[in-house]
């Protein structure tokens, strides 16, 4: 039975995180430090230590999820704890700081931590929603099936093109070979279609033109169709156009699929590097606080 990572073990880690928050808030409420609450009081040191250890432990998730042989809890359990305790961290750290902020390295660490947590929240949302959206977009079929279907269209297009002569064959096969959706993660995330196609102009020159969404190919075919008088050719071009329109539709579906998947990956490019920067800022925070004790 599939269990959402938020529901893991009857939300055990949610309750653990709420307990941590409740204990921290209660301690903050009852602690009377004889000065404005800050990281330098007894409770400030305790909450700061808890916060720093939590940050290091949360970051350790990046290691644990790659340790396939590890039997120290399941990765699902670690992720569930990672999410809930990561959210609790904000409260612990705010109380540690006594809600004091400034233009300094200490607030820098807080800002980085907040960005890491916010990107993590984004990650949880897309992990929970996007797989289903991807599946719906593909109509329940795996992506390979869409690609097979694309190949089938290409194969048929080539067969039709063969009957139309060398120019058309060149046109279709170049279009097939230069169909490209998102080479890099960023392009996939932006939904960029950098396809090209080779067309022969009326003056005999050939050139590769940009062909996003197969629009340029369809334009060229329409042009050829209008110049052709032969009914059989017109029918064949129209068949080819219909195939490429279908390909366009399929490419949109594939592009959406790639974009959804890229979104699933790209937030980690914020989450992980900022986590690393956060650990650096945390170290600077702790060291500088004690340099000028």
């Amino acid at each position: 039975m599939h269990e959402s990572l938020l529901e893991f073990r009857k939300r055990f880690y949610l309750w653990a995180a709420l307990l941590l928050v409740a204990v921290s808030v209660a301690a903050y409420w009852y602690h009377d430090p004889q000065e404005p609450p800050n990281g330098g009081t007894t409770l400030g040191y305790i909450l700061g230590t808890v916060g720093a250890l939590l940050i290091l432990w949360l970051a350790w998730f990046g290691v644990r999820k790659r340790s396939y042989a590890s039997t120290l809890g399941t990765v699902q359990g670690w992720l569930s704890a990672h999410i809930y305790l990561g959210l609790a961290l904000i409260v612990v750290v705010l109380l540690h700081a006594g809600f004091q902020f400034g233009w300094n390295v200490h607030t820098l660490a807080f800002v980085l931590m907040t960005l890491v947590i916010l990107s993590g929240v984004f990650g949880v949302i897309v992990y929970l929603r996007y797989p289903e959206r991807m599946s719906r977009n593909r109509g329940g079929a795996p992506r390979s099936e869409l690609i097979d279907e694309l190949e089938e269209i290409d194969r048929r297009s080539l067969r039709v093109a063969e009957s139309l002569g060398a120019d058309f064959h060149e046109f279709v096969s170049s279009g097939v070979q230069r169909t490209q959706l998102g080479a890099t993660l960023w392009e996939r995330f932006r939904g960029r279609d950098s396809s090209q196609v080779l067309v022969r102009r009326n003056n005999g020159e050939t050139e590769f033109i940009s062909n996003p969404g197969q629009e340029a190919a369809l334009d060229w075919l329409a042009e050829q169709q209008s110049m052709s008088g032969d009914a059989e050719t017109v029918a064949a071009i129209s068949e080819l156009s219909a195939l490429i329109r279908n390909k366009r539709k399929l490419l949109r579906q594939l592009g959406a699929d790639l974009k959804l998947q890229a979104t699933l990956e790209i937030w980690l490019y914020v989450h992980v590097p900022l986590s690393v920067a956060l650990i650096g800022a945390l170290l600077v925070h702790v060291v500088t606080v004690f340099i000028y004790w």
């Binding site: 404005p36 993660l185 068949e239 219909a242 279908n246 920067a277 340099i291």
Partner: protein, 556 residues
């Protein structure tokens, strides 16, 4: 409808095998899924790829796949079918044949071994990871380096050498160690501004008292010195910098109460805790005359429990507040009117305490020391009994010997004779006699004894002794009471000082602790009701005594 499907299998060994299957179904479903009537094992065929169904008396094929089907060599998404049509689905071939008797529709299906069909060169490659050429690792290391250099390495150069510190802190572009401040510097310390090392002398070492004592001096409760109770506590344990809200003085009650609720036996102080219920009764400091023996009156400051001192405020002054502030008024040079408290009790600059009340400024306009009804502007000096007698003697001598000589002559000189030595002595004796008579009247009946204790004395030069007056002016020298702070809309002098009912100057018109508690509550707001003012020890008492101003300067 009844459907006949004819399966044609070409044997590898040669020869063709046919098998017919008749089914009843509303349509022929074609696809890769197991629930399809015609299941095709071809990855180019979708799970539900197409369906053949009756339409307008004939039959019709519809494809759900974008790749569609090919009918008689033409790629199509839907088409009408008639016997003889060839349908291609992926690499599979279906032929529509004449439906035999008992069937509505018939197709033949050729099973082929190379069902996967021909293949184009794969144009699909694994997508590259990384964000426009930046791997996650590279982004991480770069960010880490930026944080480390700008937040630590560059500011830390200020620690290496004073010249570097000056350069780093002076440059507007370079990040300096002000980035390390946990909070703003208190205004009082703004002169040290960016020079962290003025207080933080050594790295990784707490701020020492030595650094504080460079500029400040204090006594009482100073670590290790006057009070063994304080012990090792540092200045900075209580005086916390870099906090918001910036407050260098710790006003917390526990700061005092931790020790003062149970002091060691060798410290002669009453235990004191929360003002609400653990503060000892007030003690007042009174300047009291030691009962006069012979000679000068001596004064002694005594700390007396306020409840024991209510009628013991001896100052040797006779004064009746009740008469002076009576609502019906009192006779003054301006006529009969009520006197306001503030006519005599004038706050000192700053408004904390009251200036001393003096005869000259506050009493003399009514209590004139005149003695001659014929000359009401002529007065005797105040505060100098011998001077009074002397002034009177001089006045009457002058009257008898100078100003009014003719009148004197009438009485002391025989007609036709010059004023002799004897005459003069007689005139002087008469003047002195008259002066003493007036003085007796002044000291014993008319003026002095209204306010002063006057006694007759035979041994001294003067026949009268006036007890000197000393008014107690600082009843609570160990608390910082401010009249100005208590001048509110809801309070008047009478709220605390019951002058209207006081007929004797020995009445102590100071409110007791219960009077204060009408407004002042516990040092902990949580123990108070909404009307009570949180009153920690520091509200009235001070922790240190300043002995010197900042930078060792004199205190004002």
């Amino acid at each position: 409808m009844r459907i006949l499907i004819q399966f044609i299998t070409t044997k590898v060994a040669g020869g063709v095998e046919r098998s017919d299957k008749i089914i009843d179904a509303p349509a022929i479903t074609i696809g890769r899924a197991t629930d399809q009537i015609l299941q095709l094992r071809d990855r180019r065929v979708r799970l539900q790829h197409a369906r053949i169904e009756p339409k307008n008396g004939g039959f019709h094929i519809v494809s759900t796949s974008l790749a569609g089907v090919s009918v008689n060599g033409r790629s199509q998404r839907d088409a009408d079918l008639s016997p003889g049509d060839v349908i291609e689905v992926g690499s599979n071939i279906l032929r529509v044949i004449e439906a035999p008797e008992g069937a509505d529709f018939a197709i033949s299906f050729e099973l082929r071994d190379d069902a996967a069909g021909e293949h184009l060169e794969p144009s699909w490659t694994t997508p590259k990871s990384g964000l426009s050429g930046w791997s996650m690792r590279r982004i991480s290391w770069t960010l880490l380096a930026v944080v480390f250099v700008f937040a630590f390495v560059l500011p830390a150069t200020a620690l290496l050498h004073p010249t570097l510190a000056k350069f780093v802190r002076g440059s507007s572009l370079m990040p300096d160690d002000s980035l390390w401040r946990a909070g703003p510097l208190h205004n009082a310390h703004s002169s040290t501004a960016a020079e962290c090392e003025v207080c933080h002398v050594n790295a990784f070492e707490r701020v020492t008292d030595v650094a504080c004592m460079e500029c400040h001096e204090a006594s009482r409760h100073v670590a290790g010195e006057t009070s063994p109770v304080i012990g090792e506590t540092r200045c900075a344990s209580c005086h916390r910098e870099h906090n918001e809200p910036a407050e260098l003085v710790n006003r917390h009650q526990d700061l005092c109460a931790d020790c003062h609720t149970a002091l060691p036996d060798d410290i002669d102080l009453q235990p004191a805790g929360d003002f609400l219920d653990a503060h000892p009764d007030f003690r007042v400091s009174l300047n009291l005359p030691i009962p006069p023996g012979q000679g000068e009156t001596e004064w002694n400051i005594e700390h007396i429990k306020l409840t024991d001192a209510l009628t013991a405020n001896r100052s040797n002054l006779k004064f009746d507040h009740k008469v002076h502030v009576a609502e019906e008024g009192i006779l003054t040079p301006d006529g009969k009117r009520a006197i306001e408290c503030a006519e005599c009790h004038i706050p000192e600059p700053g408004g904390a305490k009251m200036l001393p009340v003096t005869m000259d400024e506050h009493c003399s306009s009514c209590h004139t020391l005149s003695f001659d009804p014929d000359d009401p502007t002529r007065v005797v000096p105040h505060g100098d009994p011998a001077g009074v007698v002397q002034a009177l003697v001089e006045y009457y001598s002058a009257r008898l010997l100078g100003e009014d000589l003719d009148a004197v002559e009438q009485r002391v000189r025989r007609p036709g004779r010059a004023l002799t030595r004897e005459d003069r002595d007689r005139a002087a004796a008469e003047a002195r006699e008259q002066a003493l008579a007036v003085a007796t009247d002044l000291f014993e009946r008319q003026a002095c004894n209204n306010c002063h204790e006057v006694s007759r004395r035979d041994d001294g030069e003067l026949p009268w002794h006036v007890e000197p007056v000393k008014l107690s002016n600082d009843f609570f020298p160990h608390s910082d009471f401010s009249h100005a702070a208590h001048d509110t809309e809801v309070t008047s002098c009478g709220s605390c000082h019951n002058a209207q009912q006081s007929e004797s100057s020995e009445d102590l018109l100071i409110p007791d602790i219960d009077g204060c508690r009408e407004c002042h509550g516990s040092g902990f707001a949580s123990r108070n009701n909404a009307q009570q003012i949180p009153s920690a020890c520091i509200l009235c008492h001070s922790f240190h005594y300043d002995t010197k101003g900042v930078y060792g300067g004199d205190l004002p």
